[in-house]
């Protein structure tokens, strides 16, 4: 259970990115955050795993306030929270395997990781994660040699290495084309349903939101303006969506849904 209470963030230059945002995410939920660029989605996700320090508020996760954690405790909390990024954030010159293994750093003693040594279990785990994401052919290639969709799979595999209880996905498909977007989202759905990993995911496309979300929250100028269940969002019209979300909301293209090559999890 993740509970965000009265979360606010003001940047050093005075920008108020988040204003008193409160919501809760039960375990196993697939929460989608919608909102315009600059509405505070990324800031909110980064506040949860403290890549950004919130100015005010509490982030309770299983009763622990993440906002108050420091040093070792913070790192221990972080390693249970995976993160996936819009621009993948891979080390482009390192191999796929090394990028995936980096997900295990939180569990690896410093001196071992300094000389690049990971335990055999970690390596097996990395192979399994890579295989699960279907990129085993690319394992020794440099990350930069992979296509966008493959790079994001590496990103997902890296998050998986953390044995996460929650994954934060910051616009995971915004840099990908529609087909790949569905493919990545289906992996996230699979992890959500099979591994019972709580998902907090920001998205741009209305039909992806309708297709994958079990709950939706909407942010506008740092303020929480919408909260709805799966049923609510399905009943929502494009006009309503745009009203909350902003005029640049768009559909991926409904025709693709249902006839995708990658079919995983319970399709709606």
């Amino acid at each position: 259970m993740l509970e965000v209470r009265h979360l606010s963030k003001t940047y050093a230059d005075g920008t108020k990115a988040l204003k008193d945002v409160s919501f809760s995410v039960p375990d196993g939920e697939f929460l989608v955050v919608i909102g315009l660029s600059g509405s505070g989605k990324s800031t909110m996700l980064r506040c949860i795993n403290r890549l950004i320090d919130p100015t005010e508020g509490e982030i309770l996760w299983d009763g622990v306030d993440l906002a108050q954690l420091k040093g070792e405790d913070l790192r221990k909390a972080r390693r249970k929270i995976g993160m996936i990024f819009q621009h993948f954030n891979l080390v482009k010159r390192s191999s796929v395997l090394k990028n995936v293994l980096a997900g295990r750093l939180g569990y690896t003693p410093s001196w071992n990781s300094l000389i690049g040594r990971f335990s055999a279990e970690d390596k097996i785990k990395a192979f399994e994660a890579i295989k699960r994401l279907g990129i085993e052919d690319q394992i020794y290639k440099r990350a930069s040699e992979l296509s966008g969709g493959q790079q994001q799979r590496v990103g997902v595999a890296r998050a998986l290495m953390q044995d996460p209880e929650m994954i934060l996905a910051d616009e995971p498909v915004a840099s990908l084309d529609p087909v790949l977007a569905h493919s990545i989202m289906q992996y996230l759905e699979l992890l959500n349903q099979e591994d019972k990993i709580t998902m907090v995911c920001s998205l741009h496309y209305l039909d992806l939101v309708q297709r994958y979300a079990t709950r939706v929250i909407g942010l506008k100028d740092g303020v929480l303006v919408y909260e709805g269940s799966k049923a609510d969002i399905r009943a929502m019209t494009d006009e309503q969506f745009k009203d909350i979300y902003g005029q640049d909301a768009e559909r991926v293209g409904g025709g693709l849904e249902g006839d995708l090559g990658v079919k995983v999890g319970g399709a709606a």
Binding site: R79, I81, R93, A102
Partner: protein, 509 residues
């Protein structure tokens, strides 16, 4: 409409607004002050450019006239003398006049047709600058060709210097005969042939020296026969006077050189030389020696002293470059972090340090290593150490800047991602920062090594050790073969280094 706007250098506003004055007035204005007509035709910028260009050209031309006629006073006298002495100035003057007229024509047509391009007048300007540049840079193609004959022998030696790379052990063969001056009652006996020793037999064994002009009183003819010399190798015929000075025999202005036949035998007639003895040394008779002198190469060929010295200095050069690069990296690494804006913009204090470090690096970098070498020679004296210090300093500045720019350009994404996995600070640096900066660092470092080796050859010229020191010495004593060897070694080393560094870079980057 688009056609108007696409024209070169044309300001769109010009096309819309008509000229302030009629075309002839604009032309006249430009004749009074070049560029004024254009300004009146609402092309102020073009007018300004033409005005200042024209003033510059006139100034440069006056300067050239002043140089051509340094002793004249009064501008008309200087002008006439300049034209008379330097035909090139005639060309420049004509061009200047054409330009002056052209600016007026340009003003006229600009005032008339608002869309005229300034291309023509700017081409005239360019031609003018080119002509002046040709004169100022003293380009002399005739000299380039006419001096080629004199330069060819030297260039040939530089181009293929390897005869100087091989050396032989030398032995000196010398045989002499005593000559009494003037003849007394008992001249020295003739040498007699005995065994295999080289020997010179002179007949007669006494005589008189030649007068200074040699016409009234020619010297005594001597018939010299040499035995047992080395066949086929030049023998110098020389003299040794009573006080031990040796000098070569001349005949008709040329040194006398004979080549023995296959038995080592030669014979030659010489006229006794002119020589002046100080009165204090006058004695009734003197014994002089005439001798044959031969230098023979014995034993196997071996590398010459110069060759070995150059190789030695080349090695010194390469290691100078290496040590300079090594210490350069050592100091540049920490400095580069201080000079990286993204790391130093945490607080005003760090930002101040950033600006200070950048400022110092820029100053050090803008002074050439060769000047640093001169400075360090004052401190540590001549030799490679001064050169290394100069290169280290310059390397720190250059690498510090390059490294810090590499640090500034890293992608923050992976840092964020690795932090999010629960990695600590050192793990984040190792897994997100280092992999990103290693390739540029390696690349810049190899590049710098390359530069340092090349620079260390130059630094030697001011006394900073290495092969450059040798090279400049050989050039000064006109030993073009040895200089040529230096050049060859430098070229080969740089080529190899270039190849090696390209290979390493391809592996890492």
């Amino acid at each position: 409409m688009t056609d108007d706007k696409l024209q070169l250098g044309h300001i769109p506003e010009d096309a819309r607004e008509p000229s302030l004055v009629p075309a002839p007035i604009a032309a006249l204005a430009s004749l009074i002050i070049p560029g004024l007509g254009q300004a009146l035709a609402r092309s102020a910028r073009r007018g300004l450019i033409l005005f200042f260009s024209f003033i510059t050209v006139v100034g440069l031309t006056m300067w050239r006239f002043g140089i051509a006629a340094p002793r004249d006073t009064g501008w008309w006298a200087i002008f006439k003398k300049g034209l008379y002495l330097d035909p090139f100035l005639i060309v420049v003057t004509i061009l200047l006049f054409i330009l002056y007229i052209w600016i007026a024509i340009d003003a006229y047509s600009l005032a008339k047709v608002r869309t005229k391009t300034p291309l023509g007048v700017f081409i005239a300007l360019m031609v003018m600058f080119f002509a002046l540049g040709w004169q100022i840079a003293q380009i002399d193609l005739v000299g380039f060709v006419s001096n080629a004959d004199d330069a060819l022998p030297a260039l040939g030696r530089v181009g293929w210097p390897w005869s100087k790379a091989i050396d032989y052990e030398l032995t000196e063969i010398r045989a002499d005969a005593e000559i009494e001056i003037p003849c007394s009652d008992a001249p020295p006996p003739e040498n007699t042939l005995s065994g295999d020793e080289p020997i010179i037999i002179s007949t007669p064994t006494c005589g008189n020296l030649r007068d200074q002009d040699g016409t009234d009183n020619p010297g005594t003819e001597l018939h010299l026969e040499g035995y047992n010399f080395s066949p086929g190798i030049e023998v110098d015929i020389m003299w040794e006077d009573p006080i031990g000075d040796e000098f070569r025999q001349r005949q008709g202005g040329e040194y006398v050189i004979v080549i023995p036949d296959e038995n080592g035998y030669f014979e030659i007639d010489i006229e006794m030389p002119y020589a002046l003895l100080p009165p204090s040394a006058r004695e009734p008779t003197y014994i002089w020696e005439v001798f044959g002198h031969q230098i023979e190469e014995v034993g196997a060929a071996k590398l010459s002293h110069d060759f070995k010295l150059i190789v030695e200095k080349m090695i010194e050069t390469i290691f100078m470059g290496m040590m300079a690069t090594f210490f350069g990296i050592l100091f540049a690494l920490p400095v580069s972090f201080l000079a990286a804006r993204n790391l130093m913009s945490i607080s005003p204090l760090t930002l101040a340090i950033y600006y200070l470090v950048r400022f110092i690096l820029n100053i050090i970098r803008s002074i050439e290593p060769i000047i640093w070498a001169v400075i360090f020679i004052i401190v540590v004296g001549l030799g490679p150490f001064a050169g290394v210090l100069a290169l280290v300093l310059h390397s720190i500045a250059a690498l510090g800047k390059l490294y810090s720019e590499a640090i500034e350009s890293i992608d923050p994404g992976p840092i964020e991602a690795v932090q999010a996995t629960g990695a600590n600070w050192i793990q984040t640096v190792m897994y997100a920062v280092v992999p990103q900066i290693i390739p540029p660092f390696v690349s810049f470092t190899i590049y710098r090594w390359d530069i340092n080796v090349r620079m260390s050859t130059i630094i030697g010229m001011v006394g900073g050790g290495g092969v450059g020191f040798l090279l400049i010495q050989y050039i000064r004593v006109l030993d073009y073969r040895s200089a040529g060897m230096c050049v060859w070694f430098i070229a080969i080393t740089v080529a190899i280094l270039d190849y090696v560094s390209a290979e390493i870079r391809a592996r890492f980057v």
